[in-house]
Symmetry: D2
Subunit: 280 residues, 4 copies
């Protein structure tokens, strides 16, 4: 498909399984659920998050240290301090962390503090970044651009693959449309298509697609039902106090409930969710 020779599926049975840590993988029978706040705000915040999520089927934590913000005057993230918080959390709670890298100059430090490096939607065709990530020894979470065609998305993955890194996870997170009720339009047809035309794992971010917390649980179920390998969802100890994306953050309680509610849907399509991890 699209002559993307490394990303293309030649055999629907062949699928790539990406390893986040010794016991957390993406792309096999078990659905991955990655959750956490939009932005790393403090150690206390992340600890509250990890303690709660650890009691559920959620296996990995997200949180932004470098934040791509529309305005230069908006909070740009804690940077290195945020990475260090994430690093402490992942070690203490034995949960892999995913965080965004915004430029080649930050790859080294981000790779040293996180288990998976996220390329944000705005950078999906930052080809210099993609090439450099092809030489990194960590898995990459590649988010679809806001107006990226499937061809462009698959070729963005191909940039990473062809530069040497086979561990790419695709993430559908909503595309731009004319309607303003939802923030973006979650394109689950793309998920079904990507699972057919590539062998890469595909996860779904319903938070940025919906932009409203009350739409997220049902979209999460839909994502699993259509064959997604997992979810990445925003939650926060006090959504109304979140420094960013407050309108779309679930409470931790709602996040844990959502994770539980996915089990029957996963089972209905031959998948399962993780066993709850033991409390630390």
């Amino acid at each position: 498909m699209f002559n993307a020779k490394l990303a293309s599926s030649t055999d629907l049975q062949q699928t790539t399984i990406v390893k986040l840590s010794s016991n957390v993988t993406i792309g096999d029978e078990e659905i991955i659920i990655i959750a956490g706040p939009c932005t790393v705000e403090s150690y206390e915040q992340m600890e509250t998050v990890a303690q709660k999520l650890k009691t559920s089927a959620i296996q990995a934590i997200r949180g932004g240290a470098y934040k791509p913000r529309t305005s230069p005057y908006a909070f740009q993230g804690l940077g290195v301090e945020g990475l260090e918080i994430l690093d402490t959390i992942r070690q203490r709670y034995k949960m892999p962390v995913v965080t965004e890298v915004m430029g080649t100059e930050d790859i080294h430090i981000v790779a040293n503090h996180a288990d998976m490096l996220q390329v944000g939607s705005r950078n999906m065709q930052n080809f210099n970044l993609l090439k450099a990530l092809g030489q990194v020894n960590k898995p990459i979470l590649l988010k679809r651009g806001l107006a990226a065609t499937l061809e462009e998305f698959v070729f963005a993955a191909e940039y990473i693959l062809s530069h040497g890194n086979p561990n790419v996870v695709l993430c559908e997170r909503g595309i731009r449309s004319f309607d303003t009720y939802t923030r973006n339009v979650l394109d689950l047809g793309a998920v079904v298509a990507l699972k057919q035309i590539t062998h890469l794992p595909v996860i779904v971010d319903p938070s940025h697609a919906a932009g409203k917390w009350e739409l997220i649980p049902n979209l999460a179920k839909a994502a699993i039902a259509c064959g997604a390998d997992g979810l990445i969802i925003e939650c926060h100890p006090s959504p109304e106090k979140s420094v960013s994306d407050a309108r779309q953050a679930l409470t931790l309680e709602a996040m844990v409930n959502l994770a539980e509610s996915l089990a029957p849907v996963a089972n209905a399509v031959g998948r399962k969710i993780a066993k709850t991890l033991a409390l630390v």
Copy 2:
């Protein structure tokens, strides 16, 4: 929401149940599956369809007698002859039929031959048609326009409701986007939102959204998982011979299999599919 006083939900417990026939309803616990060809081509075709679908959980038949076609030189449908075929089929097979009405001048005859009148995407804001359908004593299937906002969609329903017909079923069928891999983008966020902001049943047409038959089964599962009240899907005895939409039609076999595969997903979200109806 949107000041659409009749369509708006004031109480999430209150939902409208639309009756298609004495034993077929839309909007209650049981998921409705409506299936059939894009276009009514002959009596034999429709009989083959009905005989096969009757053996499954599919409860209603679709088929176009009046066809909205981009080109005036494309086949415009069998018209009254098509309606008569549908009428015979629904009586013989005891399956309600859904068919499109394209103008006020055809409302009377279509209402006399079908159980539910469909307003196509291109006519979603044909306000003269909507007003006239408000005075009809048959349920209306209102398809979302290709670039309709949720506000416009809900207000289109409000036109029908406010002119006297309370039996409106909304149908998400994909919206226009920049990508060409799928025909349109299925907007399941809209389904989740519509179920929250209105009390009307909402069904999903994955066929016109996907435009490719191989994407349809997984999108159908996603639709049910996110809370849709049913599906309307195109199938054909010989898809490659279909006079229209051949690329997106399922075989009858695949259609029946799809219907069966929906049961566990429906159960996972507290719904069910119909018991298979007895063979005629």
Copy 3:
């Protein structure tokens, strides 16, 4: 192009000239400017408009009697009373009038009171209406649908042409996009393309595209510069009191100034604007 045999241009020299009245045409060297309020509100309003516009190069008047409104509770237009006002105005001021027809049932009466019948964006693919307008002996102003491809737009014209009416004028009026600063995106590339692939006159409605009056004069100049055959623009004696589209209406003074400012642009591309008509 697109197999639209009647609409397609086979010879760039051949162009259709549509006659609105004995001395007003669309498609020849002279640019047409059609102006007036969104909605016909009263005889006094229309008379004020006509008196002012008559002093300028503006040759025709627009005004809606039947109004397509998103909400059924919004003002739906004066209907027949509005048509009668338009009829009186056109006779008294010798200016042809353009007004929208929303359904087949209204064609006869609209055709009896107006010089050109407008098909609105929402009805661009109301094929029953298009077919019926193919049998009318008045020119048709066909507005592009909000998400219509050029192929669909040209074929919509072809519906009218192939049913017997050769007098179709195309109107680009903005398409839906993700941005909210302008109401729609004026697609002048479509105007350039339509002038190449069809022989029909093409005019531009910058009012509905921009949605903000302050953007309209410069977009009007752009439209003429790229080859449009004319403009249709909303203006009102007191924009802030307009029952609809107040934000995009020019004052009559601004409208007349705009018309004058177009002369040098028209000249720069080998066109001209009309001589100012004598005062009544």
Copy 4:
């Protein structure tokens, strides 16, 4: 507007004039025309281009040394060799050159070989790049992202301005839409709006918008008519042999003719084009 304090216009009389070289500026009465091939292919190619363009009102040359390509297997540009060709050309022909910079690591070398650094559409929200370009002592040509709102576009400029570089030129180059006849939709409403809400120069790239050479001349006229400060257009000695964007490249002859044809339109809106520069 949008709280972009440095980019926002507080006074329509105040406008920024960006200096490309000792005698070439953007944003004053004279329209700038920048032309050249999509990709720098060889010294001979660029010399042929410069010799021809030098005979016209075209004042600056474009050409890509680092090429953002959808596929990693497509030609990625000559890199440093391409920059050196551009550098020789600009010195020999006394024409400033504009070329793209794709990452922070290339800023230094690109700034040393070119007169204006272009940020491509895909990098419009590559915030690390924008911040770094804020510290460069060369003007920046910032192209609008394929699905960027005006707010996002203005804030992207604000990133550069707020990091210290006041010399930013905005470029509208078409946005993504559903139609496939043109490559993108040229949004001249955005140009009119940007001239009102910012004090920055705004130029237009009709080549990437149209995607078809035959649409470009008329769109170029429209751009000037609506108030753009200039144009950037693709041309090639042998368009059919171009390594990229062949379908949209003008011949050099057509390019020179286009430049000449803009004079009357520029005059019609109170602007002018450059006097033809002396032959070398």
